[in-house]
Symmetry: C2
Subunit: 378 residues, 2 copies
C-alpha cells in the first residue's frame, strides 16, 4: 500500500477519496476542520493547519506521496519534503507560481502563453494611475479562492473596491465564451487532455448557471485551446492534474485566464461522462500508473447545488426523491452538515442525448434539488 | 442527515459506503475487525460482535435505520430495535428465514417457490438413511458463508464429509446454467428487477470462472426466472435489496437455489454496467426514495480477484498498470492489507461490445492482475 496524503479536506478531497478504492493506497488527510467533507473517507485524519510549516512537514514526512486539493498550503514544507525524497505532486515549484496570481500572470508572459494584458499593483492607491486600463479585473496576489479576492473594476468609481495588497489588474477580455480544459500529466511529461468544458452564464445575473461538456466551440478553437493547454503544462514541468480556464474572445482568440494545479469544479462531470474521472486520474498520476482514457462517454451538463437563500443551519435536501427517479441524473452531496446561502453543498451531473434542452434541464435540476433547512428535521 | 448503521464491515459494506456520498446520510459500521474494508469509509466505526445481542442493540438504538451486509447477525436485537421504531431493512423476520438454510428451504416449499427437493438431516449419522437421495448437496442450517458449510455428496463414500448438525440435503438439479437476479423492493412492495447475471464455470476446475450480464438464456426462461423472483420477494414482505440465485435445468425449468437478503457478489458489475448500482439501490430503499432504473448500460463481465496461490502476507497488486491503460476495465480493490490464497481481494468489471470474447477477456484480466506478496514491498 502506498501512503498518500492530501492537504485539505473539502469536497475535492472527498471525491478523490470516493474513488481511492480502485487503487492500492492508504490515505491521509490534513485539515483544520474535523467536520470537513473528506473526514470520514480517509484511513487517517489529522487535524491541523495546512498553511503551517511544522504541521505540513510532520504530516508529510511519514508518507510516500503527498498532493493537494487547495493551493493555499505551506509550500516551504512541501519543498523540504520533496528534497527529502517524498513524492510531491504537483511540484512545489508549480504551486509557488500558481498560488500567487502575480507570479502566475508573469509566468504566462515569460513563456509566451496568451493571456489578457495586466499591470501589477502594490496597493489600492496605485490603481489611480491605471484608470485608462479599466474595465479590468483586480485579483489579489495571494489568498483568493472560489470567487473571493477577485473584483471587477469597471471605471474610476470602482477603485475603492480594489485590493490594498499586491495584486494584478487584468484587462477585461472581449469574451465570447469561457471554457476549461482538464489535463493530466505523468512523470514522463505525457499528457491526457479532457474534452473542453463550457461555462454557461445566466445573462441576467451574470453568474455561472451551469457547465456543459463538450464545449460548443469550433474545432479550430478547440485545437488552439488544446495546444495552448499542452504547451502551458509542459512549461510547468510537473506531473499532476491541472485545470486550465480559458477565454475565447469574439475574434476567436484563446487566452488563458487561470490555472489550478489540481482537480477542479469544472471537471466534476468526468465522474459519469468521461472514461476516467479527474479524480481517478489523480491516483493514476500519484502512483505513476498509465494515464487513463479521457474519451467522452456521453455529453453532459453539471450544476452546482449551493445553499438556498434564506436558509442557514442543518441542511435538508428538498426534492432529492424527484431526482432519484431519473436514471440520467447523478447527485453528489458533499456531506456538509450545515448549509448557508451560496455554500457549495453538492453537484448534479446529467447525461444528455443532445445539447438542445440544456438550459431547461439545468434549471429543472436547480429548482428541484434545494439545499435548505427544515424546521421538522431532527 | 439520516443516521444509518451497517452490521458488518466487509467489501459489501465498503462498496455501500463508496456511494453513500450521493445521499444525505451519516454512516455507522459495527464490525469486530478494525482492519476491515469498510473501516475507513464510514463516519463512525464501532468495534464489536455483530452476533451479540447487547452489542447490536446498543449500536442500533441511536440510529434511524439499520441494515446488514452479512446474514450472521443477532436477529433478536434487530427485532427489539424494530419494535422500538428503528427502521430495520431487511426485516428481521426475513433474516430469520434466510440465514437458516432449513427455514429457507421450508419457506420455498410452503410458498410454492420452485426449488430442488430436499430432506432435513439432524446429524451426520442420519445421512445413511438417504443414500438413494444422492447425489445431493449438504448445506449446514446455520453458519455457512461464502462456500463454507456446503458439501457435495456424490455417493455413500462421501457421507463422512457431511455436517453433523441440522442441515438440508438438497437433490442435485440437472443444471444447465446458474443465474442470479438482484431485486430491490421498496416500502410499497414495488420492485426494481436487475437484468439476470450468468455464472460461467471453469469446466476443468468446476469453479466459478467469471460472470456475465445479461445472461445468455432464452427470453422465456428470463420471464420465468423474473416471475419467480418477484413472487418470492413478495412473499418475504420486506423492503430491501435481494439476490436470488437460480438454477436453469436442462429441461428449461427454473429453480431457486438460494436467496441473500442483501447486496451480493453477483451484482458487482452493476456499478458500471447498470444505471443504478446494487449499492445505490440500498440507500434508495433505506431512505425510501424512488427505486432507481435497472436499465442495462452495456453488457459486462465480472471477475473476482482472489489471493494468488503461494502468497500470504502484505498484498502487492501485480499488473495493475496494465489494466489502467484499458478504458473499458474497472478495478475495485477491497483495501485488505493482507492477502492469502483464495481470499477475495477485489473484483474487476469489463464493459463489452458483445459477448464473443468473454472468456479470453476474463482470463486476460485474471492472469494480468494478481494479488500477490512482494518481498521488495515495504
Amino acid at each position: 500500500m502506498t501512503k498518500v496524503g492530501i492537504l485539505g479536506g473539502g469536497q475535492l478531497g472527498r471525491m478523490l477519496l470516493e474513488c481511492a478504492g480502485q487503487f492500492p493506497v492508504e490515505t491521509y488527510v490534513l485539515e483544520n476542520d474535523e467536520n470537513c467533507p473528506a473526514h470520514n473517507l480517509c484511513h487517517h485524519f489529522f487535524k491541523g493547519d495546512i498553511r503551517d510549516f511544522e504541521t505540513v512537514y510532520s504530516f508529510g514526512k511519514k508518507l510516500d506521496c503527498i498532493t493537494i486539493e487547495i493551493e493555499q498550503v505551506n509550500v516551504e514544507a512541501l519543498e523540504k519534503l520533496e528534497a527529502e525524497g517524498i513524492r510531491v505532486i504537483p511540484k512545489p515549484s508549480v504551486l509557488k507560481i500558481i498560488r500567487n496570481k502575480i507570479a502566475q500572470k508573469q509566468f504566462y508572459k515569460d513563456h509566451d502563453i496568451p493571456s489578457p494584458d495586466f499591470i501589477i499593483t502594490q496597493s489600492r492607491a496605485a490603481l489611480k494611475e491605471h484608470i485608462n486600463f479599466l474595465p479590468a479585473v483586480h485579483k489579489i496576489g495571494i489568498g483568493g479562492y472560489d470567487g473571493k479576492g477577485v473584483q471587477l473594476l469597471k471605471s474610476q468609481e470602482d477603485i475603492t473596491l480594489g485590493f490594498d495588497a499586491p495584486s494584478v489588474l487584468e484587462k477585461m477580455a472581449d469574451i465570447d465564451k469561457e471554457i476549461a480544459i482538464m489535463v493530466a500529466v505523468n512523470d514522463n511529461g505525457d499528457t491526457a487532455i479532457f474534452p473542453p468544458v463550457e461555462m454557461i452564464f445566466d445573462p441576467a445575473l451574470n453568474l455561472l448557471d451551469y457547465q456543459i461538456c463538450p464545449a460548443t466551440i469550433a474545432s479550430s478553437v478547440i485545437e488552439k485551446a488544446t495546444a495552448i493547454t499542452k504547451r502551458l503544462v509542459k512549461k510547468f514541468s510537473s506531473p499532476g492534474v491541472f485545470a486550465v480556464e480559458l477565454f475565447v474572445d469574439k475574434s476567436g482568440e484563446v487566452l488563458v485566464n487561470e490555472t489550478a494545479p489540481r482537480v477542479h469544479n469544472s471537471g466534476h462531470h468526468s465522474i459519469e461522462a468521461i472514461s476516467t474521472s479527474q479524480f481517478q486520474m489523480v491516483w493514476q498520476v500519484l502512483l505513476n500508473l498509465p494515464l487513463g482514457s479521457t474519451q467522452l462517454i456521453q455529453p453532459s451538463l453539471m450544476v452546482n447545488i449551493v445553499g438556498a437563500e434564506g436558509h442557514s443551519g442543518p441542511v435538508y435536501y428538498r426534492g432529492l426523491e424527484k431526482l432519484s427517479e431519473n436514471p440520467t441524473v447523478f447527485v453528489h452531496l458533499y456531506g456538509k452538515a450545515l448549509t448557508k446561502p451560496g455554500r457549495k453543498m453538492g453537484h448534479v451531473t446529467a447525461l444528455l442525448n443532445d445539447m438542445t434542452n440544456c438550459t431547461t434541464t439545468a434549471h429543472w435540476i436547480k429548482s428541484t434539488l434545494r439545499a435548505e433547512t427544515n424546521p421538522k428535521e431532527k
